[in-house]
């Protein structure tokens, strides 16, 4: 019994540094940031005079923030469905016992291994529209060369297109992730289930619609949460690819926070933007964590 207690003490000693680090650097810092967002601190010199919700009130009236919120809604609304759909289709295709499955899978996942900065630099060039004097570049040039010039666009230089250009690059980078999740899920479905449906006379399409998709619902759920969290935090890709864009048409809250705080020196306002971002992510993730760990305890 005494040895057990000593082991117990050792186990606490092992995790204490991490517990302290998480307590301070995650929870303590979030609290610090939260308080800063309620303070006057609008220059390099810290000023913790309490001003209530004044920073938030001001933030909501700023045009850039309103555009950012709209951009983020567009981004989430396109990015999540795109990644889910592309990932699911690719996973289903790869699940047909194809030759070279490993190679295809590696190609689809390759962008995941690359820094968002690299992705941004490459896609910035791909989507450079070109000028009247130089002719088209990048994708526009390629579209002309294959006779699809009518699809040409100003991409991120066109305020109407704006953030959608970033969605394309982000989906290129992340859709392999949903493919990997769906493929793992498909591999977990016992073949007997599909076989049984086949014997009952179901077509392959019906099997996917009525057997496979419902069984994959937990994966769709997890993937949507993770993609949502990625979308809300998107930063490096936008910095490298477009910056805020014309009329803030490719701007996102993370970039606004960075500019406000570390370029503009308005720390309290930056903290307020960060607080909003955190609340949005928490609304998404906390129910998910509770759901995941409650069901785990039951198992």
């Amino acid at each position: 019994m005494r040895r057990l207690t000593r082991d117990r003490l050792t186990s606490f000693a092992l995790i204490t540094p991490s517990v302290v680090a998480i307590a301070v650097f995650v929870y303590g810092f979030i609290a610090f940031n939260g308080y800063s967002s309620l303070a006057r601190w609008d220059s390099l010199l810290p000023d913790f005079t309490f001003v209530g919700l004044r920073n938030f009130q001001k933030l909501f009236t700023l045009a850039r923030f309103q555009i950012d919120v709209r951009n983020m809604l567009t981004f989430i609304g396109l990015f999540i469905p795109a990644c889910l759909a592309i990932g699911f289709v690719l996973a289903v295709l790869l699940d047909q016992r194809v030759k070279g499955e490993g190679l295809f899978r590696s190609i689809f996942l390759l962008p995941m291994a690359i820094s968002a900065i690299v992705t941004g630099v490459v896609w910035r060039w791909l989507m450079s529209p070109g000028t009247a004097e130089t002719g088209s570049y990048g994708i526009n040039l390629l579209l002309e060369q294959i006779g699809a010039g009518f699809l040409k666009s100003g991409w991120y230089t066109d305020p109407q297109f704006g953030i959608k250009a970033v969605v394309i690059a982000a989906a290129w980078q992340m859709s392999g992730y949903t493919m990997a999740m769906y493929l793992a899920g498909l591999r977990g479905i016992p073949e007997e289930l599909r076989e049984a449906a086949r014997i009952d006379g179901a077509s392959e399409l019906q099997i996917y619609r009525h057997v496979v998709l419902p069984l994959l619902r937990p994966i769709t759920f997890s993937a949507a949460i993770i993609l949502g969290q990625i979308a809300l935090n998107i930063f490096a890709l936008v910095v490298a690819m477009t910056g805020p864009g014309p009329g803030f048409s490719t701007d996102v809250p993370a970039l606004f926070m960075f500019d406000t705080t570390f370029r503009g020196g308005n720390f309290a306002m930056g903290a307020a933007i960060a607080t909003i971002m955190l609340l949005l992510v928490m609304g998404l993730v906390v129910p998910y964590l509770i759901h995941t760990f409650r069901s785990e305890v039951q198992v």
């Binding site: 117990r8 610090f32 800063s36 791909l126 040039l141 960075f258």
Partner: protein, 289 residues
């Protein structure tokens, strides 16, 4: 038998369509990689916008040399020093956070205590937070610790914020180690650390490979912490330097692409040679692995 053959006929028909779709998708995914490769391999004479999609006439390493050593006349420094910074940063940070994750994962999977089922999700929350919400206090505290603007400071930051993911990967990994093994060692009188050292650690190689690869990739590719913590170019990691290089419009496209390829190369090589461990780390991020 009839049901089987009727299920097979449409499958046969679909087969060429399946391959056509996969090849088309693969071509689209590889398009940016193709452009990255051919552009960075072109010589300066060959870079014409109208021919940007054409293969290079020969292999020229000019752009790589320029991206690596820089160009004083144009006033930009090369990526060589930043590449080394990223190595000095990534190797220790990934190693330390893997070791921490292994110890945490061991306790959370094999030495559960009252409250550990609450503490663990509390750790995981750190996996999802927007880092913007900790940046301001982070800068303040790093300055107080005299770590701000240094590579050790950046290592420290990556180790701390790597705790959630490394703990998660190892907890899931150790959960698959039979508890009987631990119990048997306990009966033989082994202590907690003895069990870790003699039973669990020797079984941990795959867990360490997955975690090291994951952290290596994540830290090498990081931009946010790099740009926040290091302001002087001499200590900046390569992602920050690449972004500066690409942002200065004096630098030609082919040098930018060569720089992008240099930045991507270490993680690409890891991915190409150890890809299946990378995918395991990836799926661990969806919590239940």
């Amino acid at each position: 038998m009839s049901a089987r053959s009727s299920a097979f006929t449409p499958r046969r028909l679909y087969r060429p369509l399946i391959y056509a779709a996969l090849i088309a998708a693969a071509a689209l995914y590889l398009l940016p990689v193709y452009l990255l490769l051919i552009t960075s391999l072109k010589s300066f004479q060959e870079v014409r916008l109208a021919a940007m999609w054409d293969l290079p006439a020969g292999l020229s390493l000019e752009s790589f040399v320029r991206a690596w050593v820089g160009n004083k006349a144009q006033g930009f420094t090369g990526l060589a020093g930043n590449f080394l910074n990223s190595i000095y940063l990534t190797v220790p940070a990934a190693s330390i956070s893997a070791l921490l994750g292994s110890l945490n994962g061991y306790v959370f999977s094999k030495w559960k205590f009252r409250g550990s089922e609450v503490l663990f999700p509390a750790f995981l929350f750190g996996l999802f937070i927007p880092y913007q919400s900790i940046l301001i206090p982070l800068v303040v505290v790093l300055q107080k610790m005299h770590l701000y603007g240094t590579i050790p400071g950046l290592i420290f930051v990556h180790v701390v914020y790597g705790i959630p993911i490394t703990t998660l990967i190892f907890r899931n990994y150790y959960a698959s180690v039979p508890t009987e093994l631990i119990e048997a060692a306990k009966i033989d009188g082994a202590s907690l650390l003895g069990i870790y050292r003699w039973v669990l650690f020797p079984l941990s190689l795959p867990g360490f490979v997955v975690t090291l690869i994951w952290q290596f990739t994540a830290i090498w590719n990081d931009f946010l912490f790099g740009v926040i913590v290091t302001s002087r170019p001499v200590v900046q990691p390569i992602t920050v330097a690449l972004n500066n290089l690409a942002g200065s419009y004096v630098v030609e496209w082919n040098v930018q692409m060569a720089g992008a390829l240099i930045t991507a190369l270490p993680t690409l090589l890891v991915y190409i040679f150890l890809g299946r461990y990378f995918v395991r780390g990836l799926l661990a991020g969806s919590l239940k692995g």
